[in-house]
Assembly symmetry: C2
Homo-oligomer: 844 residues x 2
Amino acid sequence: MSETSNELPATVLSNTKPQADAKPQAETKPLSDTKPQAETNPLSEEELDQLDAWWRAANYLSVGQIYLLDNPLLRRPLSRDDIKPRLLGHWGTTPGLNFVYAHLNRAIRQRDLDTIFVAGPGHGGPGVVAGAYLDGTYSEIYSGIDRTVDGMRKLFRQFSFPGGIPSHAAPETPGSIHEGGELGYALSHAYGAAFDNPNLLVAAVVGDGEAETGPLATAWHSNKFLNPKTDGVVLPILHLNGYKIANPTVLARIPESELLELMRGYGYTPYLVSGGFDGEDPREVHKRMAATLDEILDRIAEIKAAAESGDLVDRPAWPMLILRTPKGWTCPKEIDGHPAENNWRSHQVPLADARDTEAHTRLLESWLQSYRPQELFEESGAPVPLIASHAPEGDRRMSANPVANGGLLRRDLRLPDFRDYAVEVPAPGETVAEATRVLGGWLRDVMAENPHDFRLFGPDETASNRLQDVYEVTGKQWNAEYWPIDSDNHLAPSGRVMEVLSEHQCQGWLEGYLLTGRHGVLNSYEAFIHIVDSMFNQHAKWLKSARDIPWRRPVASLNYLLSSHVWRQDHNGASHQDPGFIDHVMNKKADIVRVYLPFDANTLLSTYDHCLRSVDYVNVVVAGKQPSPNWLSMPDAIAHCTRGIGVFDWAGTERDGEEPDVVLGCAGDIPTLEVLAAADILRRRLPDLAVRVVNVVDLMRLQSEGEHPHGLNDREYDALFTTDKPVIFAYHGYPWLIHRLTYRRAGHDNLHVRGYKEEGTTTTPFDMVMLNDLDRYHLVIDVLDRVPGLAAREAAFRQEMVDARLHARQYTRDHGEDIPEVAEWRWGGGARSTRIDTTGGDND
Amino acid sequence: MSETSNELPATVLSNTKPQADAKPQAETKPLSDTKPQAETNPLSEEELDQLDAWWRAANYLSVGQIYLLDNPLLRRPLSRDDIKPRLLGHWGTTPGLNFVYAHLNRAIRQRDLDTIFVAGPGHGGPGVVAGAYLDGTYSEIYSGIDRTVDGMRKLFRQFSFPGGIPSHAAPETPGSIHEGGELGYALSHAYGAAFDNPNLLVAAVVGDGEAETGPLATAWHSNKFLNPKTDGVVLPILHLNGYKIANPTVLARIPESELLELMRGYGYTPYLVSGGFDGEDPREVHKRMAATLDEILDRIAEIKAAAESGDLVDRPAWPMLILRTPKGWTCPKEIDGHPAENNWRSHQVPLADARDTEAHTRLLESWLQSYRPQELFEESGAPVPLIASHAPEGDRRMSANPVANGGLLRRDLRLPDFRDYAVEVPAPGETVAEATRVLGGWLRDVMAENPHDFRLFGPDETASNRLQDVYEVTGKQWNAEYWPIDSDNHLAPSGRVMEVLSEHQCQGWLEGYLLTGRHGVLNSYEAFIHIVDSMFNQHAKWLKSARDIPWRRPVASLNYLLSSHVWRQDHNGASHQDPGFIDHVMNKKADIVRVYLPFDANTLLSTYDHCLRSVDYVNVVVAGKQPSPNWLSMPDAIAHCTRGIGVFDWAGTERDGEEPDVVLGCAGDIPTLEVLAAADILRRRLPDLAVRVVNVVDLMRLQSEGEHPHGLNDREYDALFTTDKPVIFAYHGYPWLIHRLTYRRAGHDNLHVRGYKEEGTTTTPFDMVMLNDLDRYHLVIDVLDRVPGLAAREAAFRQEMVDARLHARQYTRDHGEDIPEVAEWRWGGGARSTRIDTTGGDND
């Protein structure tokens, strides 16, 4: 499979079906039309037979997966022992997914479409697996599960079985970029896949349960961010089967007129297909679906052609399909006197005691036989030619499309040499920079060098996070209305920056973009990245599973850049303070997650270069955006970041060959600043005290080597932190994380961590660190208190530090800003001409 | 003010304005009308003068808060020193909020409305504070900030100032139930407040930035869950000022026709008010706004009357208002050649260097003077009578409405005696129950006893979590369409159960419900509660702040019931496995959060009784829903839960007066089961080994008493766990949490924790614990390996355990279910007649 599938001829999305009736472009219909359901039947009898046979086969295979251990083709009467002892999995959504898949296959073959399938409804696993099996892809990838009776038996057995596959689309599913476990992200993933894939059609089935989630409800608006020419097409298929687990769904229970208004309000042209109710022959529904899908694809081709030719000016009202079919379509109408088909009761396993109740065993058998398997599969077990030939060819199969195994298409980024962007650091702390702004300069050139496969995502915070230099080479992609004033908004019909005030959208788009072989960064405020905690979970789980699947190729890492962090929320107050995303991330498997805390511009550059080269990780980088001292020259920064942890020789007062009296550890920009300020006080006031300063950029270095691949071995750790000297550790986040990372270390009992304790309100920068006992004065007090005998010997000095804190606190209350000795402090004494602090806070 | 405000006469929402022109009920207009903007002016000149003066005063006070340290009424020329050194806060959204507040005040006075105000847009703090100050409420609550010149100076100074108040609505803000820090929850909170408050009008301003978030995008659908008769009314006011931080907003940049369709599609009747652009006189906008608000309130009164009389059958298309005004309305048109008013540049502080640039100081002065403060405030600093009299009276003031200080209205729940719901436990493990199902029986009667102020919220999982007994006394409130088949769906126009497939909605509704003085429970799958991690954060921060605000009265705790937990996701696979919400919760302040792990039916009952009696906490309760052994009789359960931690004497083999050889700790239902099974093996096979079993229900007991109010002191802890014996601890979640809670304990170096290690896939219950080394056999191996000398002495026994695991693993692979000796195991030997395991998995 080639890397060029996104360079296919632009005709791919054009109408090339045999009975082409596409209007010439000049006759393009007004783009805001709303289409009711089609009334003509485009299907020949042979095509109809084929569609229906394929659908029956997929349904048969789906039911088989849920129930059968053996006897896959019912070549003997179904017996208790043929049925799984624990009936797991989900039927309800599956026949609808199979129906859509069947019709897409026809369209792909007729129009040579480049298409992937996103199965949004929860637990549609049996369906997408059945589709991949009928495509032949499944057997190509999993050789044991071949197209024989025995292969089918294995296919059935593995489903929701110990050591097998889960009940939803998953990394194990060929053709999937979307896990069907946690709901809400189907459309965001679909749009993420479509960006920069101009010839791709992403068919995204949205379940009406999923449609109730917040992330899905806003994801419809993705169409305002899609460029009709340079991006691909998303066809949302809202599948109304009426029920979720145990309730009707909202969108199935509003008047059709209201639903159509909602979809038009979201900016789509809705098309309707409804059928299969009250025993309607599915063949009739096939006809309507085929006709409607043809109309939709014609319309898409028209829009793409108009975009291609430049005739399309306004945002098009892209088609979307509303498909209304019964939940559990084709399962028994009633079971034990309760409705099953077209009812929430068919959500999971409609015949829960098929193994233990003879009547249910027989009902299951007749249900399976209702698909007439003898017509669908050869004696060998292989699908009959009518069905096998319904699959598109090669990579055109949705289950084999390389876009859905993005690692196949991923190319390394062209990365400008980050050393060229270094800030000058004649001596530690001598110069000042906004770290993220410096990174923005490099990201600008990353974008310029990689104009088709790198994007920056953010919830309206890219400029607030000081990355605005990227606008020198690109814009914020925007396809809603433009106003004259927008000339200075950096909006553009096609651009590398994606901004929408929804962390869910940003994350979902980025995931879709990465899983289809591209690269990207999500920048966000640190506190609010918790909004996507659960999405991170699911992506990390995807990466973990995908690593163990040989045919899945590595994808680019998901890179977070978290700024506007907990320590600098001057006017935003407590609501904007939360460093706990790091803690959340740390729960996931060590081979997936990386956390970096670069503390100045050069360390941030070095760190990010590393992140953009990596694959299959989630990299969390927390960095400051405010003017702040630069501590390391670029050569030193590279050396330090390569080690991930190290001693600041220049800051300590150790004597060669002797262990220090105390170790000051730090991780994060503000903790590093405060530790250095404390070290500065100590070296001036207690020159005989042997102080070592250790900085941690790569948080994983603190863990044991057995816990994380980056972990230091105990000898290395002890060499840095000693085994018995007090360690005062100033940490960016919640202090217990440092304890958790180090509790197995020899010196752990001597480790005292200062971090964020959920104490913060409207304040100044220094007041904020004082509130949490992380300030330089308190760190000095900690040293005095922890080094044996020192507090008693230096009681006056200790009191001076206590007084200094009180004075600093009172000063902020009186003046509304930090005391000059702090604001103007610089390493090595003397005041800096420019204040480190600025008058403004975050932009949010 | 009283506890009876939700029992006001039903006429409150009726049209009682003097110039009443409400149609008699028989002439009720069709309920799906869409209204354009009103064209008549209902305002007398005096009313118009009053509205405009109030609005100018609120704007003046808002600008003053952002900029001024002193000279609050400009009684001398504005000088540099009058201006804050750090200019923080946000202007952009504020004039719009003030505009809405002004008009609501008029309506409240004219119609005697019972109204609260939800300020959704980010950082509208200056506005809501100004409103409360003009209402007089602010000075009543904060006596130092009185209605004098000096009080105004303090009002200004405290805003976004060290030790002061944040830049958004917050607990400190009178009348607020909604923090404006993290965006997306305004409408959910508003609907939560409206439930069971039939005479309440919740005016919810939704910012067009916020409207892009997922939670807000789905919250519009809350109208399908509101009962027009028994609940109050939410009036959403979508405020389109066109920009978020640095970008235009989506809803401001779609055609008006599309926006109207969207709102109609969401089920509302949209009304439009637009104005203030291109220098239009605000007085003209006042007229349109007043007329439109009158129409809206007339319409609401009609709907309420129709609902009251029973004439309303279908869901009404409630009015909503689209208000389009310039961002930063009334600030300077241009600053330094850039547009300010009606531009994203007015989002935060339009004149960022007002202190340091003389021209900007003068511009700020003229901006302030443009509101003509001398007309607005007396010599004393008090608002002139025209303005003061614009405030409604007493509790009718939105800033003084007791609904927004819900603790004032909260009444204790009538709780049936949970002991009456106990399951019989003749001996440990002798009987089996589904813990959450037993709890459901009690919750049913809680609902019956508290029909107006207790609700159960869940994302379509109430029955899946086995709480379906509640449907014996109530239904799932549903005001979308009903179909004939719904007779067995437990849907009802008015009911105590709120189910929608959105954790965000559930959480937001519950928060709104609690903060307005009621009680509730949110039940969810454990893994997916991470979806609301960030909402939990914000609610916890609210509670923390509110505790320090004397006039805020305690509200009912936010109670989570997390079931379908990590260990029982048999067919759902890894996507449904995540016990990390506990870790997330633990980062918040100890005086806010409680985590309980009841391990059987009786301990769950006892725990939940405690939770429903508590206030101002977040209680996280994780419990099983599968059939599982009952370990403790109710008296024992009560004693154990009261202690929160304790020794299972019956399970151990200690000799009186001697320390055990090993401690087996457990927390959570599955870990407790496996520990007891391990203890059972040990007592039979190594009867001389002194084993102690310690169970933890209240996780906080493990922490030091200095860390958490529930923490054991070291003596108590050591008495349970010893200081030097090996402790093998089987824990429900990620193992490092136990280390984090105990790292200061003497015996910590001997503590070995088994928990979830992110190893799980499609499996059986016992296979799942084996994958994570938490199974009985592995726990026995742990004991053998940790008790000095034991492994060598019992090498054959150890090998037997290793073989047992391999055999059990292989058995599941072969048979798809757990080995009988595990599935049928019972305490004390012998097989149980009923298997503990069931064939089904979770319903999801």
